[in-house]
Symmetry: C2
């Protein structure tokens, strides 16, 4: 059997880390990389993330496996153009939203696609941010699997299992609602926290006192705005619902402090503690 060709479209944190993870498995692969940013292509080659730079979707379309590790609006655009040449080709999109992507893939090519969301990442981006263990022991949500071909389903499950991920299956609509609460709304909070501090008279003096709590809460406020603009757009209604649920809780907390209902505040905090029984 000849070495399988993997095409990675998008050579950033996610795509680069995927290559590093797959290189640790016993199966040998040949990696082709495509990215609209020429310096990312060069860095990915220099870092050994890919074996070859390609410059067109046409070339990538001959691969056995294709990963889409680009922002979610880009995934929709590429999915419309990509015509896999190999009947067993598996195209895996790794976007943070799933419903709009799952719906937008053309009927004729839908069976090639597996729509996945690996619940991992860092606030960093670009090929130099790639980490060999980014996916290890993390959850990957596989959505609308009944729309993928049998071969493609099995291939995707095998690939994600090989790099140490735990598989969770879900409809794309359910995924997007959950992701709004567990990831998209928390990003809005982190950005809002960072901006609330930056608007103060002397943010440097405030930030000089930052301990681990603040550093953790503001870490994802470093995330790439263009990537997150796309995610917020694609998951607009779920995001707004999640923000409103959060706003109600924070307002309740504020009211308890304002009216000095200390016992009730203590109970409200103790309720929040319970999250850690299931986390």
């Amino acid at each position: 059997m000849s070495v399988q060709k993997i095409g990675i479209i998008g050579l950033g944190l996610m795509g680069g880390s995927l290559s590093l993870a797959l290189k640790k498995t016993p199966t040998p692969y040949h990696f082709l990389g495509l990215d609209h940013n020429p310096s990312h292509c060069m860095q990915a080659l220099e870092l050994g993330l890919i074996d070859e730079i390609v410059d067109s979707l046409e070339t990538i379309s001959h691969c056995d496996i294709i990963f889409l590790t680009i922002p979610v609006d880009g995934i929709i655009a590429v999915a419309k153009q990509l015509k896999p040449m190999n009947p067993d080709c598996t195209v895996i999109d790794m976007g943070s939203t799933k419903a709009k992507i799952s719906e937008s893939i053309p009927k004729q090519t839908r069976h090639f696609f597996v729509t996945a969301h690996p619940m991992t990442g860092t606030e960093k981006f670009g090929p130099t941010a790639a980490l060999p263990n980014l996916y290890e022991d993390k959850v990957v949500v596989l959505c609308d699997m009944e729309k993928s071909g049998k071969h493609q389903q099995e291939r995707a499950k095998k690939l994600f299992t090989e790099i140490g991920m735990r598989l969770v299956f879900m409809g794309s609509k359910e995924h997007d609602r959950h992701a709004a609460f567990i990831s998209h709304m928390p990003h809005a909070l982190s950005y809002a926290l960072a901006n609330a501090v930056m608007r103060q008279e002397d943010p440097e003096s405030i930030v000089a006192l930052a301990g681990g709590g603040f550093k953790d809460m503001s870490r994802i406020a470093k995330s790439n705005p263009s990537m997150w603009e796309d995610i917020f757009r694609q998951n607009k209604s779920n995001l707004l619902e999640a923000i409103e649920c959060f706003q109600k809780e924070l307002e309740a907390c504020k009211k308890l402090v304002e009216t000095e209902k200390w016992e009730a505040l203590n109970r409200w905090m103790a309720e929040a503690n319970r999250l850690h029984d299931i986390l």
Copy 2:
């Protein structure tokens, strides 16, 4: 010179970690521990955090150095009763709020006290949570130092420097405003985030998808409610102001998403990114 006696009132994460940190310095100390929880006393002794359990403020009052590592309301209560016997005694309170504590210490004993806030901690508590490097490379804010005796100022600076902390000096009112933004309000956010998720129909399914971002944002929602109730009470007005600043930012974000002002949303996120230039 005989071995100096250090009294630690409150044998939890902060007090226990302090003992471990001081034991790493070349200076030998004898540690006396006081805690209203008898099992914490036993654990602290078994873990080697203290050399001796004492059961009264009177016994502790003969120490050379006394640390108050208890919740902030407890600090005020103890500060009113504690009568140091040694004229060179240094009493260091390590509460997360400073203005109410600094004001409440009786005039007759005020010079013994140094009011400090080490900007460190974890969401865990009790003697078993103690860590030898909790204070290393962290900031300690020393407040209203002009109210402390000369000897006490020097002693406190030396002790915190010896355990590897960076000293920052500030008035207690300024500290409390900064701490509201950098620590107290972020705790309110984390509790509110945890509660927003726990109120959903199927929190287990949501939490099963948690990645690093959510884990970081919700970590401090595990913090002790009684400790944080006290902090919120003592820093009420600053906390409310900080929550309102945050609410304005989150509402602005929500409006941009609702009205689909994507470019403006992108700019708002990019502004938040700037925090990391100064963090």
